[in-house]
C-alpha cells in the first residue's frame, strides 16, 4: 500500500516534470497549486475545471465568430484575450503562446491565419486538458490512497 502510494507519488512528480519540460505547464501552475490548502482543498480542481469550462465556451465562440462572413476581429480578439488571460493564470503555457500568435493574426485581420491559430489553440487546449486531467486524477488517486501530494520545491 505504502509502496503503491510512493509509486503514484513518483509517477506524479515525473508526470508533472514532463509537463513542465514539454512546456505545457509553467511556473504559474505551481503558484496555483500552492494556493491550495486545507481551507481550500479543491482549489486547483476548481480553477482548472473553470478554465475548462471557460475555454470550451471561448473556443466555441471563436469558431462561431470566425465562421461569420464578416469576421468581427474585435470580438475575436477579445475572446482570445480572455483565453490568453485564463491560460496564463493557470500556467497553460502552450495555450497561452498559441493565443499570442492568434492575437497577432487578429491584428492583421487575417481570417486564414486566425482559423489556423484557432486550430492550434484548440489542439493545445485539448492537450493540456488531457494532461491536466491525468495529473489531477493521479493526485486524487494519491489522496485517495492516503498519501500527500508532493509539493514542488521551487514554490514559495
Amino acid at each position: 500500500m505504502d509502496g503503491g502510494v510512493g509509486l503514484l507519488q513518483r509517477q506524479l512528480v515525473d508526470y508533472r516534470a514532463s509537463l513542465f519540460n514539454e512546456g505545457i505547464l509553467n511556473e504559474q501552475f505551481n503558484q496555483l497549486q500552492s494556493l491550495q490548502d486545507e481551507s481550500n482543498p479543491d482549489f486547483v480542481v476548481e480553477v482548472v475545471s473553470l478554465f475548462f469550462e471557460d475555454s470550451v465556451r471561448l473556443l466555441n465562440e471563436l469558431a462561431k465568430s470566425l465562421d461569420q462572413r464578416n469576421v468581427d476581429f474585435k470580438k475575436v480578439d477579445a475572446h482570445v484575450h480572455q483565453l490568453k488571460g485564463s491560460s496564463s493564470s493557470i500556467g497553460a503555457q502552450r495555450v497561452q503562446n498559441a493565443c499570442i500568435a492568434f492575437r497577432s493574426c487578429c491584428e492583421e485581420k487575417n481570417v486564414e491565419g486566425c482559423l489556423k491559430c484557432l486550430q492550434q489553440v484548440t489542439k493545445e487546449y485539448y492537450l493540456v486538458k488531457n494532461k491536466l486531467e491525468i495529473l489531477l486524477k493521479l493526485e486524487q488517486q494519491i489522496l485517495a490512497a492516503g498519501g500527500s501530494i508532493p509539493v514542488q520545491s521551487e514554490v514559495i
Binding site: Q31, L50, D54, Q82, S86, S88, I90
Partner: protein, 972 residues
C-alpha cells in the same frame, strides 16, 4: 453548126460553169453575166420559130427541108429543153452553192461571234463574272442565230412541166417553149429576187459584218456597268501573284500602298490576316474596306500569292466612329456627373456637419452662458467662503466649456465667412501682460513666462483685441502645454509691411523651407536670450524712427496709419518634428496620437489661430526644433491711433488686472516676467481668470532689480513665494480656509496643526491658492472637521503622502486609521479565472478584496466606497482600465464626477446622500494607488498605464511575488 453552136454553147456553158464555180468569190460579177446571157439565147430561139411559120406552099423538098428542119427544130427544142433543164439545174446548183456559201459565211460569223464572246467573257471574268451581264450578251447571241433560220424557209420550186397540147406538136413545143420561157422568166425573176435578197443579205451582212464595233459597244456598256457595279460593290475579290501585276498598277490612290503592304506582309508571314484600309481610288471612290488576305501556297508550301476579299465597311466604320465618339462623350459626361455628384455630396455633408456642429455648439452655449452668468450674479451676492469657492469652480468649469464651444463656433464662423472683426482701440502691452498673467495663474509647471514689447510698438493700436488675445492666449497655452521646463515668452515688435501674398503662401505652405526655418530658429535663439537684454538698445530705436517717419509722412487728414506688428510666441518645449509641421494647422490634429493623449486638447487651437490671423490679413508661421522649442509667429496689421497720448481715460479692457500703483508704468513697460512661484508652487486649477478678477491680489508686482538687464522701470509680477519660503521648505503647501473669514465660524477646527500652519499665511496666501507641489504624489487627507463638511475638494487638505506625520494629523479620521489596519482593495478584472487566482492569492496574503468586472463597475465602486488600492486590469469589456483610471483621477483632481457622467456612469443616489450627510463614508479625495494588471500586450504598454494616471503595473499572470511587492509598496 447547131452542134457546133451547141458545143460552143456548151463550151460557153462549160466556160460558164468554170466561171460559176469561181463565182462564190465574186457574186456580183457572176450574177450579171448570168442575167445578160439568158435573154440573148431566148431571142435566138424565138426568131428561129417565127421563121418556121412563114412558108405556106408545100414544097416537098421544102417539106423535106422543113421536115428536116423541124426535126432539127425538135432536136433543137429537145436540146433547148435539155439546155434549159441543164440551166435550171445549174441555177439550182448555183443557188445551192450560194446558200452553202451563205451558210458557211454565217457559220463563220457565228464562230467569230463565239470567239468574240469567248474573248469577252474571258475579259469579263477578270472583273467578276456578273450573271446579268452574261444574259445581256446571250440576247445578242440569240439575235445572231435568228438570221440563218429565215433562210431555211425559202421555198424551193420543183414543179413538173404540164401541157394540154399534143405532145411533140409544134403547138406543144411552142406552148412548151412558152411555158419554159415563162418558167425561165420566173426563174430569172426568182433569180433576181434571190439576187436582191442576196444583196440585202450582203448588205445585212455588211451591217452585221462590223460586230467588232457592236461588241466593243457592248463591251463599253459592260465596262460602264462594271464601273457602276464596282463603285457600289460592297465586296472586292482578288488574287495577286508574286509575279503578277499588283493592284497598284491597276488602281492608284490613297490606301493602295497600305493594302499592298498588308498583302506583302501576309505574303511574308504566310498567315491570313484582316485589316481595315481606307481607299480613295478613282475607281472605288473613298471607301473603307475590311480586307481579308489569305496567302496562297503551292504544293511545296511556299507562298506564291495571296487571295483577298475586301468588304466595304465605309458606313459601318463611320457609324462605328460616331458610336465611339458618342460613347466617349457619354462616358465623359457620366464621369463629370459622378464627380459633380460626389462634390455636391461632400459639400452637402460638410455643410451639414458644420452646420450641425455650429448649431449644437450654439444650442449648448446659450443655456451654458445662462448658467455661468447666473453663477456670476450669484457670486456678487453675499456668500460665505465655501459657497464662493464652489461657485468659482462652477464658473471656471463653465468657462472652460464655453471656451471650447466658442472655439468650435469661431472655427465654423471663420470657415463660413460669417466672422466679423471689430476695430477696438487697445494697448498691446496690456494684452501681452494679461495673457501672461492669465497663463501664470493657471500654470502648474516651473516655467518662466516673459513678455517683451519693443519700444516702437505703439502704445495703442486699433484691431480686434478679442481675437488677438484669443490667438496669443492659444499660442501661449499651447507653448505651456508642451514645455516642461525653461520659459515661454511673447515678443512683440514692429516689422516692415510684408509682401503679404508671397509671405503668406510661402510661410504657411512651405513649412519645411529650410531658409525660412533657419531664419526663424536664428531669431528664436536671439529672441528670448538676447533680445530682452538689448531690446531697447540698437535696433528698436531705428524701428521707432521708421515708424515715426512713417507717421510724419502721413498727411494729417489720415489720423490712423497702419503698423505691422509681429508677435512671436516662443518656448523651450518639446518642439515639433519636421514631419508633423504640415499637419499642424489642420483641425483636430495633433502631432501624434501619443501627444493627444498625453497633453489633451481638441487640436482646434492652431487651426483657429491660423484662420483668425489670415482673416485679419496677416499670416502665421511656425518654426521648431525638436527638444529645443518652437516659435509661433504671426504678423498682423494694426491701425495706429493718432491720439495715443491720452491713455489714461482709454477704455481699458482689463481694468481689474492693472495694479493701480503700476498702471501708469504699465503703459510703456517693455518687459514682463512671471517667475514660477516658490519652489514647486502651483496655482490651483480651479482658479480661472475670473477668479483673479475676484481676487486681484493673487500676484504681487515687484520691481525687480536689474535682473537680466531689464530696464529698471520694467516690473515683474512675481509670486509672493519668497515671503513664506520657510513654509515652503516644509514642502507642504496648504490650501486652507481662513477660519476667521469662514462664515461657519462655529465649526470646530480639529486639525489644529494644519490650521496653525496655514493661518499664518492665510492673508498672504490670498484666499488660499497654494497646493502641494507635486501633483502626482500628493494625497488628500480628508478634512473631517465640521467646516469641511460643506467643503468642496479644493478646500480639502492636501498633503504629501510621504509625509507620514501629515497622515496622522487628521487624527480624528477614524476611517483612515481603520483602513490602515485593513486596507480595502478593489480588484477590477473580467476574467473569472484571473479573479479566482488573484483573489485566492490575496487571501493567502491576508487581504479580502472586492471584485468588479469592468471599468464602469470600478468607477461605481470608487464612487460608493473608499479604497486604499485598486488592482485594475487594462483590457476589459464595457470600459477599459485606462479610462476608468482617468475618470477616477479626474475626480480626485476636480472633485466632481463629470467625466464619469460623460462616460455614461450615473452616480448612485445613495452615495450622493452619503456624501452630503456623512463625511465618513464619503469617498475620499486621496489619490488612490491604482495598479495596472497588464498582459504585456503591445496595447497595454507601461507607458500608457502611467500616462493614464496609473501608479504601477503588474504583468500578468500575477504571482505571489508580484502581488506582495505591490502591496508592500502601496499599502504601508
Amino acid at each position: 453548126m447547131v452542134c457546133q453552136m451547141e458545143n460552143d454553147k456548151i463550151n460557153v456553158d462549160m466556160d460558164m460553169e468554170v466561171l460559176t464555180s469561181m463565182w462564190p468569190e465574186d457574186i456580183n460579177e457572176d450574177g450579171s453575166q448570168f442575167n445578160v446571157e439568158k435573154p440573148r439565147e431566148d431571142h435566138d430561139m424565138l426568131e428561129e420559130v417565127s421563121i418556121l411559120e412563114e412558108p405556106s406552099v408545100v414544097d416537098l423538098q421544102r417539106l423535106m427541108e422543113l421536115n428536116s428542119s423541124s426535126e432539127k427544130g425538135s432536136s433543137q427544142l429537145a436540146y433547148l429543153v435539155k439546155h434549159w433543164e441543164y440551166k435550171q439545174a445549174n441555177a439550182v446548183r448555183l443557188l445551192r452553192e450560194e446558200l452553202d456559201s451563205l451558210t458557211e459565211q454565217r457559220q463563220e460569223v457565228e464562230l467569230k461571234k463565239l470567239e468574240i464572246l469567248e474573248e469577252h467573257r474571258f475579259e469579263e471574268e477578270r472583273y467578276d463574272g456578273d450573271k446579268r451581264q452574261v444574259s445581256v450578251l446571250d440576247d445578242l447571241y440569240v439575235m445572231y442565230q435568228a438570221v440563218p433560220r429565215k433562210k431555211d424557209d425559202v421555198p424551193f420550186q420543183s414543179k413538173r412541166f404540164e401541157s394540154d397540147a399534143e405532145y411533140d406538136t409544134i403547138v406543144y413545143w411552142k406552148q412548151r417553149a412558152l411555158h419554159l420561157e415563162k418558167l425561165l422568166e420566173a426563174s430569172l425573176q426568182r433569180e433576181q429576187m434571190l439576187m436582191e435578197k442576196l444583196k440585202g443579205s450582203i448588205k445585212n451582212m455588211e451591217m452585221q459584218s462590223t460586230p467588232v464595233e457592236e461588241l466593243s459597244q457592248m463591251l463599253k456598256r459592260a465596262d460602264n456597268f462594271i464601273h457602276f457595279i464596282l463603285q457600289n460593290a460592297p465586296i472586292v475579290l482578288g488574287h495577286v501573284d508574286i509575279i503578277g501585276k499588283t493592284d497598284l498598277e491597276i488602281l492608284s490612290g490613297a490606301g493602295m500602298q497600305e493594302s499592298l503592304d498588308f498583302k506583302l506582309e501576309v505574303l511574308e508571314r504566310g498567315l491570313p490576316g484582316k485589316r481595315e484600309i481606307t481607299f480613295d481610288t478613282e475607281l472605288f471612290g473613298s471607301k473603307t474596306f475590311l480586307i481579308y488576305v489569305e496567302p496562297v501556297f503551292n504544293k511545296a508550301g511556299e507562298t506564291i500569292g495571296v487571295n483577298y476579299i475586301g468588304m466595304e465597311i465605309t458606313d459601318q466604320v463611320r457609324k462605328r466612329e460616331k458610336m465611339a465618339k458618342l460613347r466617349e462623350e457619354i462616358a465623359v459626361q457620366k464621369a463629370m456627373e459622378t464627380e459633380l455628384n460626389k462634390t455636391i455630396h461632400i459639400t452637402e455633408e460638410t455643410m451639414r456637419s458644420k452646420q450641425m456642429l455650429a448649431t449644437m455648439s450654439h444650442e449648448i452655449r446659450s443655456p451654458l452662458s445662462g448658467v455661468v452668468s447666473m453663477a456670476e450674479i450669484l457670486a456678487t451676492t453675499k456668500l460665505d467662503r465655501e459657497q464662493q469657492q464652489l461657485l468659482e469652480v462652477m464658473i471656471s468649469s463653465g468657462d472652460l466649456v464655453l471656451q471650447l464651444i466658442n472655439d468650435i463656433l469661431d472655427l465654423s464662423k471663420v470657415e463660413s465667412g460669417v466672422m466679423k472683426l471689430e476695430a477696438i482701440k487697445f494697448r498691446p502691452r496690456e494684452v501681452v501682460k494679461h495673457v501672461l498673467q492669465t497663463a501664470a495663474a493657471s500654470l502648474r509647471k516651473k516655467l518662466t513666462l516673459e513678455g517683451h514689447v519693443a519700444e516702437n510698438v505703439p502704445v495703442e493700436v486699433i484691431g480686434d483685441v478679442l481675437r488677438i488675445r484669443q490667438i496669443i492666449t492659444n499660442l501661449v497655452s499651447n507653448a505651456i502645454k508642451f514645455t516642461h521646463e525653461g520659459k515661454v515668452g511673447i515678443k512683440l515688435y514692429v516689422v516692415a509691411q510684408p509682401n503679404i501674398q508671397d509671405r503668406a503662401h510661402k510661410s504657411v505652405e512651405d513649412y519645411s523651407s529650410s531658409v525660412e526655418k533657419g531664419s526663424h530658429i536664428q531669431r528664436f535663439e536671439e529672441a528670448p536670450y538676447q533680445n530682452h537684454k538689448n531690446h531697447d538698445e540698437p535696433r528698436s530705436p531705428l524701428k521707432g524712427k521708421e515708424l515715426k517717419l512713417r507717421d510724419e509722412g502721413k498727411p494729417t487728414d489720415h489720423p490712423e496709419t497702419a503698423v505691422w506688428i509681429r508677435c512671436d510666441v516662443y518656448d523651450t518645449g518639446i518642439g515639433i518634428p519636421e514631419t508633423a509641421l504640415p499637419a499642424l494647422f489642420k483641425k483636430y490634429m495633433q502631432v501624434s496620437a501619443d501627444h493627444a493623449r498625453k497633453y489633451g486638447g481638441t487640436g482646434l487651437g492652431l487651426a483657429i489661430c491660423k484662420q483668425l490671423v489670415e482673416l485679419m490679413g496677416g499670416y502665421l508661421t511656425v518654426s521648431s526644433k525638436e527638444h529645443c522649442g518652437s516659435i509661433f509667429s504671426f504678423v498682423l496689421p494694426y491701425r495706429v491711433s493718432s491720439i495715443s497720448d491720452d491713455h489714461s481715460d482709454d477704455t481699458d479692457e482689463l481694468p481689474n488686472i492693472i495694479d493701480h500703483d503700476t498702471a501708469t508704468a504699465d503703459i510703456t513697460a517693455g518687459y514682463f516676467c512671471f517667475q514660477p512661484r516658490a519652489l514647486g508652487s502651483l496655482f490651483s486649477s480651479g482658479l480661472s481668470s475670473r477668479n483673479q478678477h475676484l481676487a486681484p491680489t493673487n500676484f504681487e508686482y515687484m520691481e525687480l532689480p536689474d535682473i537680466n538687464g531689464v530696464s529698471p522701470d520694467a516690473y515683474t509680477l512675481s509670486s509672493s513665494a519668497s515671503k513664506y519660503k520657510d513654509k515652503a521648505s516644509v514642502e507642504i503647501a496648504c490650501w486652507v480656509v481662513d477660519p476667521g473669514q469662514a462664515s461657519n465660524g462655529s465649526s470646530l477646527k480639529q486639525n489644529a496643526n494644519i490650521d496653525d500652519k496655514c493661518t499664518n499665511r492665510g492673508d498672504e496666501g490670498a484666499d488660499g491658492d497654494c497646493q502641494a507641489e507635486n501633483p502626482s504624489t500628493y494625497s488628500i487627507g480628508k478634512g473631517v472637521d465640521e467646516i469641511t463638511k460643506m467643503n468642496k475638494p479644493q478646500e480639502a487638505f492636501q498633503m504629501q503622502k510621504t509625509d507620514s506625520s501629515m497622515r496622522s494629523v487628521p487624527s480624528s479620521n477614524s476611517e483612515v486609521t481603520k483602513s490602515a489596519h485593513k486596507p480595502r482593495i478593489l480588484l477590477v478584472e473580467d476574467n473569472k479565472i484571473n479573479v479566482m487566482v488573484t483573489k485566492s492569492m490575496m487571501k493567502q496574503l491576508g487581504h479580502i478584496i472586492d471584485v468588479v468586472n469592468n471599468g464602469v463597475e470600478a468607477v461605481r465602486a470608487v464612487q460608493s466606497h473608499s479604497y486604499d488600492l485598486i488592482l485594475m486590469d487594462v483590457c476589459m469589456p464595457v470600459m477599459d482600465g485606462l479610462q476608468a483610471t482617468r475618470i477616477i483621477r479626474t475626480y480626485e483632481e476636480t472633485g466632481n464626477w463629470d467625466s464619469a457622467a460623460e462616460a455614461g456612469i450615473e452616480r448612485p443616489m445613495h452615495s450622493l446622500g452619503l456624501e452630503l450627510n456623512s463625511q465618513f463614508s464619503m469617498p475620499s479625495l486621496r489619490r488612490i494607488p491604482i495598479i495596472a494588471m497588464t498582459a504585456n500586450a503591445l496595447s497595454e504598454s507601461a507607458d500608457e498605464c502611467f500616462a493614464n494616471g496609473m501608479d504601477s503595473f503588474v504583468s500578468k499572470p500575477v504571482t505571489f511575488q508580484k502581488l506582495r511587492q505591490c502591496l508592500e509598496q502601496y499599502l504601508p
